[in-house]
């Protein structure tokens, strides 16, 4: 500390800054490598190697579902005010890492403008959903005027564990669009990251790890959707599957088919936008996307309605 900085020191720091990162899964608040020991390589537009990304397997899915199940009840039982603050906090941490996200997205082929717009939109969306935690029940819950001497009310509750199949693009906004309604709903999740653009997803895990989101509520695994969708859609302890219609039709059908095993709720959103659309008209694309994401009905889809009856008598 007291030591005077020399030019040599500065160059050392620069070297350290460029140490490439090992991207790993995010399960139960920790960063384990995939148990498979396999990887795929992600390259920049110019063909330069950027990172090796883990090809996760059924076992990783299983570990992630287990962590999600264990954490879910305590997340759902937090007060709505508390959950709202925890979600809001994600935006505070994400904002501090703007540059990191921008760089990674540009490296993968985003225009700088599109990347920045997408990150702005992410922040806006996080804050938007943070505000729903203590309002969704007020807007969509009800006291039902039954024709008998009973007090009867309906309120939304969490469903449980959700499998989220991230759209390929927009890599971060798409993932958050599917994730945030579930967090508001009180669910815990296992996210299959974008295969083409996994870096923002993995970096988002670092945001989560340094925010107030309890371990196990959001788990993110990387790999091939064709390898990860079968185990997650068959898993008997997953209650909901969420994805978007840009997913390969065969995989989408598999989700529907396998979900019958335990009557999972399956919810496929309209397709998100492609990178070409994002880059060619970023302003319009992001604002349209944000517009359709800012929708409390996405929360209702991943909740269950519970109706309680009680007699009224002297």
């Amino acid at each position: 500390m007291a030591k005077k900085q020399t030019s040599d020191d500065t160059s050392q720091i620069n070297t350290m800054n460029s140490i490439p990162k090992t991207y790993k899964n995010y399960i139960n608040g920790e960063f384990p490598r995939t148990e498979s020991g396999r990887y795929y390589s992600v390259e920049a537009l110019d063909g330069k190697h950027i990172a090796n990304i883990g090809l996760s397997t059924r076992k990783d899915v299983r570990n992630a579902v287990q962590a999600a199940r264990k954490a879910q009840a305590s997340w759902a039982n937090k007060t709505a005010y508390n959950r709202g603050q925890i979600i809001y906090r994600i935006a505070e941490i994400l904002s501090g890492r703007r540059e990191q996200f921008t760089n990674e997205m540009v490296l993968l082929g985003y225009s700088k403008e599109a990347a920045e717009l997408e990150i702005n939109a992410c922040n806006e969306l996080i804050v938007y959903f943070a505000g729903w935690t203590d309002k969704i029940g007020q807007v969509f819950g009800s006291v039902n005027p039954v024709a008998s001497d009973h007090f009867n009310f309906s309120r939304q509750e969490s469903v449980g564990v959700v499998g989220i199949i991230s759209p390929e693009t927009p890599s971060l906004l798409g993932m958050l669009g599917l994730l945030l309604p579930n967090m508001v709903a009180g669910n815990s999740q296992v996210i299959i990251a974008s295969k083409q653009f996994p870096l923002p997803s993995c970096t988002f895990a670092e945001v989560l790890a340094t925010s107030d989101v309890p371990a196990g509520i959001v788990n993110i695994i990387t790999g091939l959707k064709s390898e990860l969708i079968p185990p997650i859609s068959k898993h008997m302890d997953v209650d909901v599957l969420v994805g978007d219609c840009s997913l390969d039709i065969e995989l989408r059908v598999m989700c529907e088919l396998e979900s019958a095993s335990n009557m999972k709720k399956v919810y496929f959103w309209e397709s998100f936008n492609s990178l070409e659309e994002l880059n060619s008209s970023p302003n319009e694309t992001i604002s349209t996307c944000l517009h359709s994401l800012k929708d409390p009905y996405h929360i209702l889809h991943v909740q269950e309605v519970k109706t309680t009856w009680h007699p009224i008598s002297e």
């Binding site: 009800s142 039902n144 024709a147 309906s154 019958a260 009557m263 009905y297 007699p311």
Partner: protein, 503 residues
């Protein structure tokens, strides 16, 4: 007057000292005012198709095993015709009918059901075997109430979906079970029509009669042709219907097994579908509850409608300290339940819906005994013809017993004990189902604690098996998807346009 009363009382007290027969005299509901045809065609595009003996099946009265009427087994081309009629009506008359007009039709249906309530009640009991007291006091009045409730929504839909513009889905394929034939029809048709859809509905094979009688009523009120089409038949007919390429929505109520098959069969179609499936409801009885009332609650939870209730409280979880007392009270109460003629106003438990179902119930009870359960059946008299099963409890069962995990759909209650509140919650939630549960305790805070942790769409506290059109009903987990009743019930029948008004 008062003297007479006095003398009555004295006579009574004299009688009490001598041996008397406390059993009720027969009190059969008259069937003289009801009429139905001996055979029915299908109701397609506003009129009945011609009945063809070669394409028909028999429906029997489960109370005596005798033939009641025959109806038509809808084949593929019949289903085609029904869907075509529904499509035509959706594109034409019904599609241009305003919410106000739709509400007027639905209100009229409700009123007509009330006017003809007695007739529908008697037919419901003859066709399905349920006690007349239940069809008269619950099924038919509630069916009318559902139509009345959803009638009022038809011209107020925008208020049900803040920030959205609701649009009807189109042609709805609806399949209903045999346990509440007319009520399930109302649950399906009322919200569908209120939202502007048209329907093709298939009643259960053993209980088609009231659905067909309902068509007479639609003709009387002049509902436009094709808006409601009723096709009778077996599972095969149901399969044709859900496989039909020109339907826009499936609403199914029935077993979880069939629900899964339907979900798989439509995997490629991205078709909106709602399911009301099986259940294995727990009736959690805490030691601080009013036990005599709770025992009445148990009787209502499991013996209502012969236990043919998806949300039946078929598992009693009783706190250890009061278990013996509760079981004794329950056994005593069970001895007084009258099993018999569905049309007798004193009957508590009517006929099991079909021979197949009776065999299923018997098989489950046998399995329970084989797995170590102790079986107690009420010892009352059972009619010699028809299909009847006595009220039954199985004790000495464990959480993994078949009879604890699987839906029996009959008057059979399993009994388990628990010590702590959390143990009760754990046991209640430990089945694949999540339709309904009951909590009995005098402690309000406990009701909310336990209620919030139960994984079920309905929680009945200090009551059981209550239904109301304003009250959403439906299951968590393998008990289904979506809700019927209340505002939630409308969600199942609309597409929501994001109009951005709230952006």
């Amino acid at each position: 007057m008062s003297e007479k009363n006095l003398s009555d009382q004295s006579t009574r007290s004299n009688q009490a000292s001598i041996s008397i027969d406390w059993s009720y005299a027969n009190a059969p509901e008259s069937t003289s005012h009801v009429s139905f045809s001996k055979h029915y065609g299908l109701f397609i595009d506003g009129s009945f198709t011609e009945y063809n003996e070669n394409q028909s099946f028999e429906s029997i009265n489960p109370a005596n095993g005798e033939s009641l009427y025959r109806c038509t087994e809808a084949n593929k081309s019949d289903v085609d015709a029904a869907v075509r009629a529904a499509r035509k009506a959706f594109k034409g008359t019904w599609g241009t009918t305003s919410g106000t007009q739709r509400s007027h039709y639905l209100y009229r249906i409700a009123r007509m059901l009330q006017e003809r309530a007695r007739e529908f009640a008697v037919l419901e009991s003859m066709d399905g075997g349920k006690p007349i007291r239940e069809s008269r006091d619950i099924d038919i009045p509630l069916a009318a109430a559902y139509f009345f409730y959803y009638a009022g929504w038809a011209d107020k839909l925008a208020y049900a979906f803040p920030g959205k513009s609701p649009i009807p889905l189109g042609v709805c394929a609806q399949i209903i079970p045999w346990n509440f034939p007319l009520l399930m029809l109302a649950w399906k048709i009322a919200p569908a029509l209120a939202c502007g859809n048209t329907v093709v509905l298939k009643p259960a094979e053993t209980t088609s009669l009231n659905a067909l009688k309902f068509c007479e009523l639609l003709q009387d009120i002049g509902l436009p042709d094709g808006v409601v089409n009723i096709i009778t038949g077996s599972a095969k007919t149901g399969e044709y219907l859900v496989q039909h390429p020109d339907i826009d929505k499936i609403a199914f109520t029935g077993s979880t097994g069939v629900g899964k098959v339907i979900q798989q069969s439509i995997a490629k179609r991205q078709l909106p579908a709602t399911f009301e499936l099986g259940g294995k409801g727990a009736f959690i009885l805490f030691d601080d509850a009013a036990l005599n009332e709770a025992v009445e609650g148990i009787v209502n939870a499991i013996f209502f409608n012969q236990g043919h209730v998806c949300c039946a409280g078929s598992r009693l979880l009783v706190q250890e300290g009061v278990a013996e007392k509760v079981i004794n009270l329950l056994k005593k109460r069970m001895q007084h339940l009258i099993v018999g003629d569905p049309l007798d106003k004193n009957t508590d438990i009517g006929a099991v819906n079909s021979k197949e179902q009776l065999e299923t119930i018997q098989r489950y009870v046998n399995t329970g005994i084989q797995e170590g359960a102790t079986c107690f059946e009420s010892s009352g008299h059972l009619p010699t013809s028809g299909y009847y099963f006595p009220p039954t409890i199985l004790t000495g069962v464990s959480q993994s017993s078949t009879v604890v995990q699987e839906e029996i759909f009959g008057p059979v209650l399993t009994i388990q004990t628990f010590r702590t509140t959390d143990e009760a919650i754990e046991k209640a939630n430990n089945t694949p189902y999540g339709l309904a549960n009951g909590i009995w305790t005098d402690k309000g805070s406990k009701i909310f604690y336990v209620g919030s942790k139960l994984k079920s769409g309905v929680v009945w506290s200090n009551t059981y098996n209550k239904f109301d059109p304003t009250s959403p009903f439906g299951g968590f987990k393998e008990s289904g998807k979506g809700r019927e009743g209340g505002i939630s019930g409308l969600h199942a029948y609309v597409k929501l346009d994001h109009n951005g008004g709230m952006y």
